[in-house]
Symmetry: C2
Subunit: 405 residues, 2 copies
Amino acid sequence: MNASGIITPASQASVSESNRSRILKHLYHNGVSSRAQIAKALGLTPAAITKITARLIEAGVIEETGDFEGEKNRRSIGLNLDTARFHTIGIKFARSLVQIGVFDLCGNTLSLESLPTVYDNTINDTIAIIHDRITGLLDDDPSIVAIGMAVPGPYLRKVGRTAVVSSMQGWRKINFINEFSHAFRVPVFIEQDARAGALAHYLFDPAVHADDNIAYYLVGEGVGLGVIDNGRLINGAIGAATEIGHISIDVNGRPCDCGNYGCLERYCSTPAIHDMLISNGTVVPEAADMTHTDAVRALFDKANAGNDAARDMVRQIARYVGYGCVTIFNGFNPEHIIIGDIVAEAGPYFLREVRKTVAERAIPELNDTTSITLSTLPTDATVCGAAAVAVTQFLECPSVFFDVA
Amino acid sequence: MNASGIITPASQASVSESNRSRILKHLYHNGVSSRAQIAKALGLTPAAITKITARLIEAGVIEETGDFEGEKNRRSIGLNLDTARFHTIGIKFARSLVQIGVFDLCGNTLSLESLPTVYDNTINDTIAIIHDRITGLLDDDPSIVAIGMAVPGPYLRKVGRTAVVSSMQGWRKINFINEFSHAFRVPVFIEQDARAGALAHYLFDPAVHADDNIAYYLVGEGVGLGVIDNGRLINGAIGAATEIGHISIDVNGRPCDCGNYGCLERYCSTPAIHDMLISNGTVVPEAADMTHTDAVRALFDKANAGNDAARDMVRQIARYVGYGCVTIFNGFNPEHIIIGDIVAEAGPYFLREVRKTVAERAIPELNDTTSITLSTLPTDATVCGAAAVAVTQFLECPSVFFDVA
């Protein structure tokens, strides 16, 4: 797919695919519509609409709904993209956590499974389990049309490998493209995890509008960012843009596996918080024997139960997450920052502290025009975001999925 | 203009304008072309090309060149966009420095003037002089079709004001839209300075290709950044994205006028370097009586003449500029970073030190695939970039300039 935009010329074939895609997106975002409504909204001729929709109906992508009430109460035939009829698999890879879900085109969760905790020496077993599970799901559900995978960034999208995976380097050996892309009967799409999360909110979150500038700020086993700027994901030349976790907040700070010093990820990811808990020793005394996630959740439980030392520590974490927000303001100027993943489970007290730090340090005009919220999607934004990656491809490139040309 | 991209529907009118724009851009980037070549490259029907080009010829935007040698040595009639026939004015606002130039559509400099050094209490006089000069230039040259202005970021594009101007707050009182946008016979377009610089390299630099991911890193009276990601400028919701100068490199560092601490601009802009020179006292003893620019140039002269203390100071500045590059890598992952403005005058020794810092701290896969160079455009990238802003509009929205509909 060509994502390049304003200058690159388009061939006749890509113009047709682009018009098919625009029609599908219109139906996806607006629901049942008449041919006349679509023609008007997209600036296409009625003849073009008739031709393209005929092929989409024939290929089984969309259907006629019979009469419905259109503009000015006139009855007309509606066209519908049935978003419940097509399913996708979404898989989140997050170092020690792997989740697999099945979703419809609107991100409704049909099933969700967490695999056993992954350790550096069980990565190959995990890969084998994933193959098994996907094969099983595809056998059971013929409605599945695509698989989306969300992997830790920086993800080198042409190579198929992640460039740095702080705290679990074993994942760097996996080439996701070689491992998965031709292994199943449906196409597989791979995206950096936080970018998948941004797509999840873009497509599935009723609070977000399609023309918004949004940032999904993933604070979990890693710290990541996905930014949609004026309707388009920021990718960078090799897919490594918006890696907030490796932007330094202190050039004289803690060394990171990526080569840099003071990377944000070294201060507020769950492994960093886990380290804090272990060296503190008293807030969560049993932390050393817990997983990163369990230790961090134990901290949040204590803080929310009113333990002062725990609340101090949450405040400190929130300050670091807030510094990251200020960097996101000045780097990407989104309209909405949605914080998600494990650290967002800290809840309203945490969010208040994040906003306080931001109010102290952000340019006032940006602070006044940018919202910061916690993700409220019913399923973690990265795992349903993996599905959103697949849905985006389904809407962008229908000819990959159906014989519509 | 609607910059929103993938999801927003386009009206029939904007489809026509988009096709006109694509034809103009094709001629701009490829030179004389036949109608058949354009049709093939853009995936438009010959009938559409004939209709649109007839209107562009009638309106005087493009012209027929008579026979030229086309594909397979067949003679055909060529179409040409004469880039020397249309001129634009470019104006760079950089706190104490204001420059006004006239350029053709390819960025060739036809005239260039620097206004007297601006002080906080002479900003209004400077504005009056700018009005005068523009009026004079427009009277003398009927070929001028547009004016571009490049102003310090963060520039609030809908409001018309800059949000922070470290070291010269007086500029914040100027509303550029109210002051200039309806003052002349031609349209005026205003852009953040480093984004203008990125457009200059995108349009006028033979070393840059149209589908590249480039970043123009302005290190002068301010520190700014413009990023073209997959062919499109990153703007942010209110125009305040890519403000590298206000991204903190040390959350416990020097306070900045923007409210943040440790902003990059506080370490390597010319006012920051000037402060270093004054407090040092010996490297450039007369620094206190000089302008920022002159003091910094005196430092670079000494360093290039081999003075050890001066070279140490340049090395220190280069480290900070390098930290900024690492942030640009991890934030935006461009393919090329082009460093420009006054600090880039430090030359090859400085660039070597920047690259050394980057090699120590960048993710290896990014260091291997990203070039860092100094701007080599014959005129400062921001002032010819202001013209590039106008040229971009000329190519994007021809109907604003000519009766072509």
